[in-house]
């Protein structure tokens, strides 16, 4: 297990559970830490144990053994097992699980009445408007679309005033249009409610858009965990995610070029030209550059169609002799980005740590 630095590691889970279903036994054996701020994503393929981990943290798996601490509050150890209803969590299930016998308003009131702190009217209204469900309050769950149900479920979970919000693939059961309907609400949650969120997903795209911190699970074990950028730029990314090796950067829009329909995004003393999608000046962007989309050359190739060429210094080369590729880390002023190139190219160009090099960035995805 590779473990990268984690900032403010205040939630600590060391859990083991063995679950038997008709056909097979599933083992989860986990030791992970994540910050009590921001969104931590748990990423993994189907059957990697993501949902089981969440259920263990929520106290819904009574067979789970181990330790679980939220700050200095112990939820579980050798002697203690707090049942789910005594843990200060909010849980958003994949299938929303609204109470069918109650309308939306009463589903929310169910949480308000049992909330860990008294819910002030202003907070209630803030939640209702943040998730844009004011017009749905008198509807029954069966009258709602999948996306609406999920928004109500999120509001209900917030109204319990949890210390930790757990979301189990809240978008998985939605079609693409609905996903794009709910995603902005999720992104806004973190800023509005200042609450640690544990978010399970199998979509790298979703995770890159939302998360600050990532835990990658593989076969019931932690394969990699850390800051999102460290994880996706790491050479030991599990095979299933090798193609996702990337750099995530935050950049600010500093210039708009009307003629070419481009914007200039600056980050750490560098700049990139990106397609203008009506972003406002000074807006902070979250960008993702796939390592596959970065190629290297020894000099500035002005005769190329690639617009974004930045001069940098090679900070690291990781070679995996069992594959054709190598992962090269390039230092661009204060920022490091990763490039995936063939081992042959490393050899042909005599690439070495400390060399000056030009990174040619073919595509940049604007995440938010």
């Amino acid at each position: 297990m590779a473990k990268l630095r984690a900032s403010a590691p205040t939630i600590h889970a060391k859990l083991a559970v063995s679950l038997e279903s008709e056909s097979k036994t599933f083992q989860l054996d986990i030791d992970c830490e994540f910050p009590s701020q921001g969104i931590t994503a748990i990423l993994g393929e189907s059957g990697s144990g993501k949902t089981t981990l969440l259920r263990c943290i929520a106290g819904l798996e009574s067979k789970a053994k181990g330790q679980l601490k939220l700050g200095n509050k112990i939820w579980q150890d050798e002697n203690i097992f707090l049942p789910a209803y005594k843990r200060e969590i909010g849980f958003v299930f994949q299938d929303a699980r609204l109470f069918e016998h109650l309308n939306v308003k009463n589903n929310l009131q169910f949480a308000v009445k049992r909330s860990h702190e008294k819910i002030k009217k202003a907070f209630y209204e803030e939640v209702v408007s943040a998730l844009d469900i004011a017009s749905l309050l008198l509807h029954k769950p069966e009258q709602l679309s999948g996306g609406e149900k999920q928004r109500v479920a999120i509001a209900r979970a917030l109204l319990i005033k949890p210390k930790l919000l757990i979301m189990d693939e809240p978008l998985a059961s939605l079609d693409n249009a609905r996903k794009h309907e709910v995603l902005p609400y999720l992104a806004a949650l973190q800023n509005m409610f200042d609450l640690p969120i544990l978010y399970v997903s199998h979509s790298t795209d979703e995770v890159c858009k939302l998360a600050d911190h990532v835990i990658i699970l593989n076969n019931g074990q932690v394969a990699l965990q850390g800051e999102i950028n460290d994880v996706f730029a790491h050479s030991s990314l599990p095979n299933a995610y090798k193609m996702e090796t990337s750099t995530i950067i935050h950049a600010r829009v500093t210039e708009k070029n009307e003629r070419w329909h481009l914007i200039k995004a600056e980050f750490g003393g560098n700049s990139l030209w990106l397609q203008d999608n009506n972003q406002t000046l000074r807006k902070l962007l979250r960008l993702r550059i796939l390592a596959n989309d970065v190629s290297l050359s020894l000099d500035d190739q002005k005769d190329s169609t690639i617009l974004n060429r930045i001069e940098g210094r090679i900070a690291g080369i990781e070679i995996d002799n069992s594959s054709a590729t190598a992962l090269v880390t390039i230092e661009l002023n204060q920022i490091e980005i990763v490039a995936q190139v063939t081992r042959k190219s490393v050899d042909d160009l005599f690439l070495m740590v400390g060399m000056t090099i030009w990174a040619q960035i073919k595509t940049v995805a604007i995440l938010s």
């Binding site: 929520a58 789910a84 209803y85 049992r114 860990h116």
Partner: protein, 231 residues
């Protein structure tokens, strides 16, 4: 209509019996039903079978065993005598106890089916909303299983009203004490008072039809369509 006083007494007694039995059965049937719906214990099969036995057993068989058990030499009889309650056969409370066994499956099975249909999911959702198991029972399980509870009460009531064989075995034919409507009809026929039998039979027919009509109109609405009489 021209019901005789003894007809009215019989109807009144029948309603009192059915009401008492239904009330007690809802209280003891609910935990049994919930246990059966949730447990993974090996006892589930045997208990399920025991509860369902009255569905297939001739009422005379059940009545016979209960008569023996509640009689002066039976364990229940000896206990009730020691407690100073006297013997239960041929008393109203003897009928109540017999009816509890006889109507048990009609109350347990609809509740059990309703609770099984709810599944674990809403309960887990409630637990994550800071709701204790008892809180969840009253505010999630009961409302969601309401059609099942209503079916159980109607079936338990109607089935107790319709008893005959077991009443004959345990209760006999004592006016105001054990002479329920079905026995009264039997008496009318025995005495060749066909017009009296007609009148009371018509009342019973009307009652049973209305009870079932009520049941099916509840079942038509939503969830309850999953519940069948007798599971």
């Amino acid at each position: 209509m021209g019901l005789t006083d003894s007809d009215i007494d019989a109807i009144w007694l029948t309603l009192k019996l059915a009401f008492t039995v239904t009330l007690i059965l809802m209280v003891i049937g609910t935990p049994i039903a919930i246990w059966l719906a949730r447990t993974k214990s090996w006892l589930r099969g045997p208990i399920n079978a025991l509860v369902a036995l009255p569905l297939v057993l001739p009422p005379t068989v059940l009545g016979f065993y209960l008569l023996i058990a509640m009689g002066p030499n039976g364990p229940v009889g000896q206990l009730t005598e020691k407690l100073g309650l006297g013997l239960l056969p041929f008393t109203f409370w003897g009928l109540v106890i017999a009816s509890l066994f006889y109507s048990l499956p009609f109350v347990v099975q609809p509740i059990q089916n309703a609770v099984e249909a709810i599944g674990k999911k809403p309960l887990e959702a409630a637990a994550t909303l800071n709701s204790s198991p008892l809180d969840t029972f009253f505010h999630v399980v009961i409302p969601l299983a309401k059609p099942g509870f209503i079916s159980a009460a109607i079936l338990g009531f109607a089935h107790t009203v319709g008893e005959f064989g077991i009443v004959l075995m345990i209760g006999g034919n004592i006016p105001m004490e054990t002479k329920v409507a079905s026995i009264q009809i039997y008496d009318h026929v025995e005495a060749l008072e066909y017009s009296g039998a007609h009148r009371l039979s018509a009342v019973m027919l009307g009652f049973s039809f209305i009870a079932l009509l009520l049941l099916y109109s509840f079942q038509k609405r939503g969830l309850a369509s999953k519940f069948r009489i007798g599971g």
